[in-house]
Amino acid sequence: MGWRKDANIKMTSATQAVLDEPRDPPAIQIRGASYTLLVLELPDPKDQTFYSRLADKIGQAPNFYRFAPVVVDLKDLADAPPFNMAEMGRRLRQHSLIPIGVQNGTPEQNKVAVDAGWTVFREGRPSLVEVGADGDKRTVETPDPQAEDTPAIETQAPPAVADSDSPDATAMVITQPVRSGRQVYAHQGDLVVLATASPGAELLADGHIHVYGTLRGRALAGVSGDTRARIFCRSLEAELVSVAGYWRVRDDIPEDLIGQPVQIFLKGERVMIEPLS
């Protein structure tokens, strides 16, 4: 299981210091982010049945595996003779996987991997979820040890990677009140506001929005189109709430929900407001 987590790295371009420039180019932003990757254990590169069994495995959930970034685990191959890693990468790509790195390799293997255009991972933390057998949808289930009839190919797959229909796990947390006229946007993630959002404030998120104070301004969840995004707030006094572009203005919010803790979500094209009990 590959798991990589970096602290937020912010790199500012040197050109920012040149104050005399009439127009500074925008600063280059590099940030850290953590993703869950698939790890493919490679028992024996010479095993002729490997790729056909891999094809079977992928056939169970083709959408899940399509273009999935994969880390190849070489832990069983420390004593194996050298093999053609670039060729292996090509074959994985034929199966719609995208190898991006190796882990647990010997120094020689690591060098070959880097030459093949991959990176070297330290072993990540395993994750306790697996691909559901129901095919296309990435469902999260507890693993069933009995079901493992092909132990040679093991994929453990949490649903975050390239799962475009799920909001990213990273959240933006705001601890200060969001005042009138301010706009806060959580790109590709959730927005958590621990304080109150004033009338005239605008909360936007690609994912969910949580407001632990009173929501008096506007809240727009799933602004990039995620219809599953929700808004949760402790006290609803919003001017407008919206999910994935569908909205309700204050005039369309029933009075008995005003001041209540609620969740807001989309049902078809309707914005639903439900009290939280």
Binding site: G181, R182, Q183, G200, A201, E239, L240, V249, R250, D251
Partner: protein, 271 residues
């Protein structure tokens, strides 16, 4: 021919938004199709004064940026027929107001409305310039005090030099003076400028005198333009001003302090 009328002042807090709401409602009540636009990006008070803040989805800036169609952003007034409000945004940048963008929206509004009322922000910066650039007529909202009069003078200069009519050598913007928050008692005591003093300095025709009145604050608290409160002096004064604007001749009132009887003089605190 539809007309663009801008409420402007230079100085802040003199009553532009109150006047824009009152005039828009008054013109609509007299049967003219009217729209009132908030140019005060970032503060956005007009929708509160008009009582439609709970129905705002899209705004003026959305329309300029092409994020929404004009008819999606226009809010029909619930009380007065023929009246629509184009609210502005509180969160977006006022740089979104471009001369071309604003011009395009105004052109489109001209197709449907007789009067387009622009509520200008204070100052003589970008927002104010955008609000007055396209004006055919301007109502200079002034309080009877020195700083307000000076700023009005300043904004008259801007109108004469930086409006579209000035730039294109057309007939100049028609100017009207509206004296608001006029407190006859304080004028009598010499604490405020007299009407004549103001007229002498500014030298533009007087459209009306709106007395200082508690009813203005009450009206904006309930989101109802004060002109609809025909019991209040301010409401009646605004009605007179609108009628004058439309060409009627009406004598100016509210210039003198109200004569109070003995009991009223003793009991004025409860009045």
């Amino acid at each position: 021919m539809s007309k663009i009328i801008t409420m402007t002042s230079g100085k802040g807090g003199v009553g532009k938004t109150t006047t824009a709401a009152a005039f828009a409602s008054g013109l609509a009540l007299q049967g003219h199709k009217t729209v009132v636009i908030d140019f005060d990006v970032g503060l956005r008070n007009l929708d509160l004064v008009m009582g439609c803040e709970r129905r705002v989805v899209f705004d003026f800036i959305n329309v300029i940026n092409g994020d929404a169609k004009l008819n999606q952003a226009l809010i029909k007034d619930k009380r007065v027929e023929n009246l629509a409000i184009l609210p502005t945004s509180q969160t977006r940048d006022k740089d979104a107001l471009t001369q071309k963008g604003v011009g395009k929206v105004l052109e489109q509004l001209k197709e449907d409305f007789d009067y387009i009322i622009c509520d200008s922000p204070a100052g003589i910066e970008k927002g104010a310039l955008m609000a007055l650039y396209h004006a055919d007529e301007a109502i200079i909202v002034t309080n009877p005090e020195v700083s307000s009069v000076r700023d009005s003078d300043r904004i008259l200069g801007v109108l004469q030099s930086r409006s579209r009519r000035a730039e294109e050598n057309l007939e100049p913007v028609k100017e009207h003076l509206l004296l608001t928050r006029y407190d006859a008692n304080r004028v009598e005591r010499g604490e405020m400028l007299k009407v004549d003093d103001v007229l002498e300095i500014l030298g533009i025709p007087l459209l009306g005198i709106i007395p200082e009145s508690q009813s203005v604050l009450k009206a904006s608290n309930v989101g109802q333009p004060v002109i609809l409160d025909t019991d209040s002096a301010a409401g009646r004064a605004y009605n007179d001003a609108v009628s004058r604007f439309l060409g009627e001749t009406i004598e100016h009132r509210f210039m003198k302090p109200e004569r109070r009887g003995l009991f009223q003089r003793l009991l004025w605190r409860t009045a």
